[in-house]
Symmetry: C2
Subunit: 159 residues, 2 copies
């Protein structure tokens, strides 16, 4: 008799982002430095590539693999950008941002207080993936939020 | 006296993926149909666009926004692909896959049993984002996993 298998393995939330990264082995070291990531596993691919790796950041898992263009796996450098960012809610957005920049991430937005109550800063890493570090610093009620949104949109439209 | 604010709001894990999508309002309806997503919030942007929305899928939140090319926010259609996939561990990968395809997602890999013990199928949605549905169906021990990986890599290299 075999044990029944849990269809959702321990430690995974419903959604896990899976990043294609050029030079995945190098990137794994970068993510350890820049994000405090802990390597959970690494499965080798052809010619020293990383076919599948998993890192843990806080309570979240991120999957990574090298580029395999023949299988349609292209990193942000090949595509000229990414349509997906990774948003991290952390205890101290400034500290997390500073650590990533110190490790070599490029600043796209220095930390600042946002109207919706987050303190938030963003970077792009050397492989082209986008990371935002945020900490809630103010609870904004629904009425106040609506007012602030309208003000922000008015500014965005130049009215 | 104001209440202390929890820097990590309730319901968020450390990492939340944030997707740029062309026709975000339309895409939100698609994700409800295709993925059983529940809309948590939606903040309007200029000219009827969606500046920020959040959906819940299982225990995970996903953020979405329209394309704002002038701010560097491009969707997969503009970039010609995505370097990030969204992996969903679900109770029944076949059912989740079928639901997405029924709603209009394109099959990239029909569900099959994988050597590492998952049953897994993949789609790309009409906006170019990639989703994989997986359920663990077999617990594979470390020794057996190593053997199977080597076999799989041998096949990949044609040896």
């Amino acid at each position: 008799m075999t044990e029944p298998v849990n269809p959702i393995p321990d430690g995974y939330h419903t959604i896990t982002p899976s990043l294609t990264v050029r030079d995945c082995a190098e990137a794994l070291e970068f993510y350890k430095d820049a994000l405090g990531a802990v390597e959970r596993m690494r499965a080798p691919g052809p010619e020293g590539s990383v076919w599948h790796a998993e890192i843990q950041i806080g309570d979240s898992i991120v999957m990574l693999n090298d580029e395999y263009p023949e299988q349609g796996a292209h990193g942000p450098q090949a595509l000229g950008g990414s349509p997906v960012g990774l948003w991290l809610y952390v205890e101290d957005a400034d500290a997390a941002f500073a650590r990533a920049v110190e490790a070599g991430a490029e600043v796209t937005m220095p930390p600042a207080d946002m109207f919706w109550g987050d303190r938030m800063g963003s970077v792009v890493d050397p492989y082209g993936h986008k990371w935002t570090f945020a900490s809630k610093v103010e609870d904004v009620g629904p009425e106040e939020m609506k007012k602030r949104q309208q003000e922000a949109m008015g500014q965005a439209e130049g009215t």
